[in-house]
């Protein structure tokens, strides 16, 4: 989009357009053109001020308030910071305003409504912009530059326009005296030191002619603006170079309030919105692409898993089919043998119990088994706690008491191992020696009962009891009967 430039002076209005590499005259027509305005009026005001160093919204508010107080009702104002004083937390600033009358305000308002008015500059602001872009911010220089309105004297300090005066066109003696007056004013205002010559740059004036306008004395000295790559050369091009700079690289302080720049701000908003939209779509697209890639990876993994699953299922189906041909179901195949084995755990074989009883108790005629009771282990019991510890073999005070106690200990607890209780006694009328031999046989046989095991008490059977020898019919009968009945508990070890 072409950038237009309008130069406005008290009695002059010219338009240019920046296209390709040059600035050429053009007519500003249509609407919505990007536009920079340069106003070159005599009544520019420059008021130095010292402000507290603030930032952000407070800084903006302070500046707006100071400008409004200094130039009430002025349309074109700005405030530039010349330098900061870190020691006392203040800044040296210059408040700038351009009058131009009501007609200038109306003209700019109309331009702002029709076009994208980007900035309003003065020649002094453009000269300071050039100095800043050239990297000469520390130079103090008085620029003498002919413009269509006259000769502009611009004092640039700290890269900012600190003073600007519009004088009559170049004329022998007149321009030099104006320069001398300006330098005198700056010295009086203590903006420059006395005795230090102020550098003069004549822009757009031949060197020979410039030398003629240098005031006498040692208050000034003639200098030259350096030639900077990438910037127009105002030393040779004069004001036209600054116009080109304004058209091509408008930046820095300018005079137009945001109300005049609404068109340009709207366009900037539109451009920002385009970039933001592009960024959003791009980011969204990237995120969607990444998610899509992740989804495709997941899908591929799912397909691979599905193939693996189908292979397993095919294997299972084939096996199930082979089972079905034999009239079996997979559940039966997987479960029945193990379930049956689980349910058979703790089972007891009565023949096995008879054999153990015969080996341990029936082999000696002096021993007589009165009763035998077996109980299978409970296949539903999960814990076999204390199975061995509960084995009990005790001489009974009476068979009934022993039976009651052993019933509780041996056969009623829900152990997973099978248990067997044997009630036995000794034949009547045995002597001490035969009686001891019979009990010793039982003790020794306790270790030969195969899967059936008795506890430690069984292995001490008879040895922990008193040896009683009685004479007389009543005494002997009672003693023998009381000491001749036992109940022993055996538990089956290992799987049934």
């Amino acid at each position: 989009m072409p950038r237009y430039l309008r130069y406005l002076a008290a009695n002059e209005c010219r338009d240019w357009v920046a296209s390709d590499a040059q600035l050429r005259s053009a007519t500003l027509d249509g609407i919505g053109q990007s536009l920079v305005v340069v106003v070159d009026y005599a009544d520019e005001s420059y008021v130095p001020a010292t402000l507290p160093a603030l930032r952000g919204r407070d800084r903006r508010r302070l500046r707006a308030r100071r400008l409004e107080r200094e130039f009430p009702g002025a349309l074109l104002t700005t405030l530039v910071t010349v330098r900061a004083r870190a020691a006392d937390g203040t800044v040296d600033a210059v408040m700038i305003a351009v009058g131009g009358g009501a007609s200038l305000g109306e003209m700019l308002t109309e331009l702002g409504a029709r076009h994208a008015l980007r900035a309003v500059y003065t020649p002094a602001l453009l000269a300071a912009l050039w100095v800043r872009l050239a990297g000469l911010r520390e130079r103090r220089v008085l620029i003498v530059m002919p413009t269509p309105a006259g000769v502009r004297l611009v004092f640039v300090d700290g890269g900012q326009a600190a003073l600007s005066r519009l004088t009559a066109p170049l004329a022998g003696g007149t321009t030099a005296s104006e320069i001398a007056r300006t330098v005198q004013y700056l010295q009086n205002m203590q903006r420059i030191e006395r005795g230090v010559p102020l550098e003069l740059w004549f822009w757009g004036v031949a060197d020979q002619e410039a030398a003629e306008h240098v005031p006498g004395g040692d208050q000034t000295r003639l200098g030259r603006a350096p030639c900077v790559n990438g910037l127009p050369d105002p030393q040779r091009g004069g004001f036209a170079a600054l116009l080109e700079l304004a058209a091509r690289r408008p930046s820095g302080p300018q005079l137009a309030p945001d109300t005049l720049r609404a068109g340009w701000l709207a366009r900037r908003l539109q451009r920002a919105a385009r970039w933001a939209a592009a960024a959003i779509v791009l980011l969204g697209g990237c995120a969607a692409a990444w998610l899509g890639w992740q989804a495709s990876v997941a899908t591929e993994a799912a397909l691979a898993l599905a193939a693996e699953r189908q292979a397993y299922e095919r294997e299972s189906r084939d096996f199930e089919a082979s089972l079905a041909r034999q009239g079996l179901t997979p559940l039966e195949w997987q479960l029945l043998p193990e379930a049956a084995a689980q349910l058979q755990q703790g089972a007891v074989d009565l023949a096995d119990a008879f054999a153990a009883a015969a080996d341990g108790f029936g082999a000696v005629p002096d021993l007589q088994i009165a009763a035998l009771e077996v109980r299978a282990g409970d296949p539903l019991a999960d814990v076999d706690a204390g199975a061995a510890g509960a084995m009990t073999t005790e001489p009974a005070a009476s068979p009934a008491d022993a039976s009651a106690r052993l019933e509780a200990d041996c056969l009623t607890q829900p152990f997973s191992a099978a248990a067997m209780q044997i009630d036995f006694g000794l034949a009547a009328g045995l002597g001490v020696r035969r009686r001891d031999a019979a009990l010793r046989f039982v003790r020794e046989a306790a270790s030969r009962l195969g899967p059936w095991q008795g506890g430690p008490a069984l292995r001490r059977l008879g040895s922990a009891e008193s040896l009683v020898v009685a004479a007389g019919v009543d005494a002997a009968g009672d003693a023998a009967g009381a000491a001749s009945q036992w109940s022993v508990c055996l538990r089956r070890t290992g799987a049934a």
């Binding site: 945001d258 109300t259 609404a262 068109g263 701000l265 709207a266 366009r267 908003l269 539109q270 933001a276 939209a277 959003i280 779509v281 980011l283 969204g284 697209g285 995120a287 969607a288 692409a289 990444w290 998610l291 899509g292 992740q294 989804a295 997941a298 899908t299 993994a301 799912a302 693996e308 397993y312 299922e313 294997e315 096996f319 009239g327 079996l328 997979p330 559940l331 039966e332 195949w333 997987q334 479960l335 029945l336 193990e338 049956a340 689980q342 349910l343 058979q344 074989d349 009565l350 023949a351 009165a370 009763a371 035998l372 009771e373 077996v374 109980r375 299978a376 539903l380 999960d382 056969l411």
Partner: protein, 214 residues
């Protein structure tokens, strides 16, 4: 932004701002829609993968379990078929069971006898079998138990063993002796015995467990 600056916009400027807002809104919608669509597809794909992973783990476990059981196929088939033929998966035939035991007793002629076959009832599975179903998330089949109590007087040891063997055979399933008390008779004529037997059956055919297996 313009409203915040309190700037009066002309109609073309307002149109520019509106177009910018529309553009930004459309971009947000488009970007959001793209991301949402992709996220939805991603979520679905990940869910499908996770489900497939779970399914393949189950299928692998089933296949490996079957494969492990197939290491000795002949013996296992024979064992399974024997259990089925024995009636481990069928309901108890209480009449046949009682008749079988009675026939044996009649043949042996004890001094007296009494037997009772109880009603079939449910029973919890052994812990290890229950754990097998729990691990697969499958409802276990009911374990049915039928109890036979027998009281017989005046038999010798071998005769008693024969009666119990007949009870095992007539039970037609997994029958085990739970408890048996044998006492020597005071008159010296054989033994008196009180025994309790239980028959177990896994009712696989009339439940949904087999259907639920993968």
């Amino acid at each position: 932004m313009m409203a915040g600056l309190d700037i009066a916009l002309t109609a073309p400027q307002r149109a520019i701002v509106q177009r910018a807002a529309w553009l930004l809104g459309a971009a947000l919608l488009l970007g959001g829609a793209l991301v949402a669509l992709a996220a939805w597809q991603h979520t679905r794909a990940v869910a499908a993968r996770d489900a497939e992973l779970l399914a393949v783990q189950q299928a692998r476990a089933t296949a490996e379990a079957l494969r492990a059981l197939r290491t000795t196929p002949g013996a296992r088939e024979a064992r399974v078929l024997a259990l089925r033929r024995a009636g481990f998966t069928t309901p108890a035939r209480r009449v046949e069971w009682a008749e079988g035991v009675t026939a044996a007793l009649t043949r042996l002629r004890p001094l007296g006898y009494a037997l009772e076959v109880g009603a079939e009832r449910g029973q919890s599975l052994p812990p290890a079998v229950q754990a097998w179903f729990d691990a697969r998330g499958v409802a276990p089949p009911p374990l049915r138990v039928t109890e036979l109590t027998l009281s017989v007087q005046g038999l010798h040891e071998q005769e008693l063993l024969d009666v119990l063997a007949a009870a095992h055979a007539a039970g037609a399933g997994l029958v085990r002796l739970e408890q048996c008390k044998i006492e020597r008779r005071s008159d010296g004529i054989g033994l008196d015995a009180s025994c309790r037997l239980r028959r177990f059956a896994l009712r696989l055919l009339d439940d949904t467990a087999s259907e639920a297996l993968p």
